[in-house]
Symmetry: C3
Subunit: 341 residues, 3 copies
């Protein structure tokens, strides 16, 4: 594709020769003389000298460079779009693989595909342009929307609902029973988990994630939310839109997470709390109570970011403080002794 | 079912019209005029006014309400049982799906079922009324008891033993090799893991849980213990009866966990320690040594609950303490100077 | 096998009757009169009296015992090798199971085996003596070396490369998309993840582990590194050789981990940092910046081991320090009052 056309399709401003033929997108180090490269930060600009890249995506405002440039206010976004142009996802042909076991009353759109050894239960629905890959388990009454991609070895248990353009990576289990028991003396009696899970449009769910069905009602993940690998989401949790949940986070039952929230890696959230919109929770933090919208919290138990930093700074000086305290004690005792004499 | 019969089957005391026909069990908000509802806490009683529920389960001792009531000392338990009555688990017909690959010398009870694409290795046994769903891997010599339910895409590796009425959710891997190596200089040499895993009766194992086989001997999970999603249990661990292990807990090799213990979410326990009966370990805690029976511990490293709370309270005052310390230093220096003059 | 031959094959020095016939290897408690037993530590020697073991592996330098002994500088290594001799892994016959779906242009070595319901994509290669068990998903262009073992229900996504003698346990997902998005206002736009994953020789990967493919370039795990269950490794991470990563560790994108490193259980490492060779990171620690080679760090955020221990010791005395501080304040005020009078 010519650089000029590329500029247009990516919504970038072209600096230099628009007739240049571009063959691909690569990192600065790996880019060859037909590649478009990308710089994440201005301070990396000197590395461009050593790169064979034909052209480069740069932020508006960064200094001019020695080769054709695509200027944009959001280089990272232009990079993402360029990758999509040059590396479209490989798509299997529509149709149901002859080895798949599909219930007689399941409905699969003609443009959808179902891979080998996948199983579709009674009443399951697969929407247009959706790809269900190999060895997927789709339970009874599951509804998968349009343009979804379900990678190998995903389990969608009975009644799970997926919106449109949802991606689920391998090994994820959606709709297993929530962890709920009533006590009968020392014994635990299972509370049947008869609710469902609803995943809204454009959600992406990482590998080996677990999202439990609700006891009653539903567990719901809001539009555009992105969930990294090995995350656990308990029964009746509700997550808003455009939220980011990094790997190995655990969210306990009935908790609500707002929209545009970031939960960093390995965060834990207790049950029945409410995390407001636009909250940021730092890595490994433990949320034990409601967090107001817009807050940044850290630590276990999680506290406001500023407070955490202050405590951490003082903690580093604790051994020194202890010494000072002892010295003060001695000096004070000396003074007291002197005044008593 | 008539409310009177329901009262009898749930072991509740009936207040009001026992002839009322009940069609289902729902949460207070969702309940319709044929539904039985459930209140978890007395303080939620005012919400009953806005509910269409026909009848309600209440604890003995809570005030009377404006509709027929099932009274019990344990409303949560009655709720669990009512759900089981109205929503019995869907059960596939007995029999082996024609696509399953079952070793010629595996034994499957006539009342059991084996789903599509499941594989049963040589000598595997599946007990009466047990359901092995789709795409399950059952290794050589595995013994599954009666009335178990093994959800899709579970792996039970060679020699694993499951008692009766065991539930294993999708993606769980039971009996993979323990993590054991001998060092040979800088290199690690694998120690063959030739022990097994034994899961006792009525254990429930969550989605994507991993329970490793023993090096020698066995890894054992005691009767009635409940394990949430994404938990890791190392080789040669022994867990007692009626213990609750919440999501993302990790238990290192050869550790012993007592009975009626609670390990909250994301807890880590080092290897070769002993956690006594009835211990409670708070979320995200890190257990580094033996914990006596009946203790409540928190923090990483875990310390007694009271001590943790005290340290936490003081930690919050650390910046203030540092200021006080500095002020004292100055005042003391002033006094000393004055007395020296 | 006679004890003399065993000594030779394990590289041990024989003390006592080399003609003794040994039937197996067991733990001290379980060993019968034909078994070789193993003691991990000298302080366990008294337990030998109660064991029926025919012979025992002991370290050079430990006192002599009442039965034939294999002496070695590394008893644990001799034990590992003895287990391998007596309990060789069971190996399926070579060949492709008739139910497997193998692309016409995939190449499977004659000595390799592929289990039931496994799927091999276009261009996939399986090397000599490699075992691909049941229900494995092998994507397009995946290359698996010689002598590997891929347990049931592993997913290897397109383009993943495995060296020789690699072991991957059930449920592991290698090569799922990295977690990368560009922001477009509040929305997240997926950055196509078109790099690959390379696993070098003799790596072992635990159950339900996730290792993401690189955005561009590669995610790489170095020779001989051992990864425990439920570990998450982000895109573009590079791990050196002979490193040990214990269960539930999470490593964020583009981070580099050196060789001979130990990351203990539940450790988290942020993105774009560099952990040097021979570093030890304690359980549940959170690494937030570069760690120089040879360091030992603990805590979240992780700090040098000595500093952590000092802070911890002082933290335990915090409530006491607070009392002392208050007492000092009062005594000082009293002195000041006295001097002012």
């Amino acid at each position: 594709m010519r650089l000029g056309e590329l500029a247009e399709r990516l919504g970038c401003r072209l600096e230099g020769d628009g007739g240049l033929e571009i063959g691909g997108v690569r990192g600065l180090e790996d880019a060859g003389p037909q590649d478009l490269a990308f710089l994440a930060q201005e301070r990396h600009l000197p590395r461009l000298a050593g790169s064979a890249a034909a052209a480069v995506i740069l932020a508006e405002g960064w200094p001019p460079v020695d080769r054709p440039t695509l200027r944009t206010s959001n280089p990272y976004l232009a990079f993402a779009r360029a990758l999509s142009l040059f590396h479209p996802a490989s798509v299997p042909s529509p149709g149901i693989h002859p080895t798949a076991v599909v219930s007689s009353d399941a409905r699969v759109a003609a443009s959808a595909s179902v891979g080998p050894f996948s199983v579709l239960g009674p009443g399951a629905e697969v929407g247009a342009d959706t790809i269900v890959e190999a060895q997927v388990a789709v339970g009874a009454g599951v509804r998968i929307g349009r343009g979804c991609r379900i990678f190998p070895q995903v389990t969608l248990r009975d009644g799970v609902v997926l919106g449109d353009r949802v991606t689920v990576h391998s090994g994820a289990v959606i709709g297993a029973d929530g962890f709920g028991y009533a006590r009968d003396g020392h014994r635990y009696v299972k509370i049947p988990q008869i609710g469902r899970v609803v995943i809204e449009d454009e959600v992406e769910i990482g590998a080996n994630v677990t999202i439990d069905r609700a006891t009653l009602g539903e567990t719901r993940i809001g539009r555009g939310t992105k969930i990294d690998n090995l995350v656990q989401i308990g029964h009746n949790v509700r997550v808003g839109a455009d939220t980011v949940i990094v790997a190995q986070v655990g969210i306990s039952g009935s908790t609500r997470i707002g929209s545009r929230v970031t939960l960093a890696g390995q965060v834990g959230v207790v049950d029945h709390v409410d995390i407001g919109d636009d909250v940021i929770v730092g890595a490994q933090a433990g949320v034990t109570k409601d967090i107001p919208a817009g807050s940044v919290v850290l630590g276990s138990p999680a506290i406001p970011h500023g407070e955490f930093k202050r405590q951490l700074a003082v903690a580093a000086r604790l051994p020194e403080m202890r010494k000072i305290l002892r010295a003060l004690e001695e000096r004070l005792a000396a003074l007291e002794a002197r005044l008593t004499r």
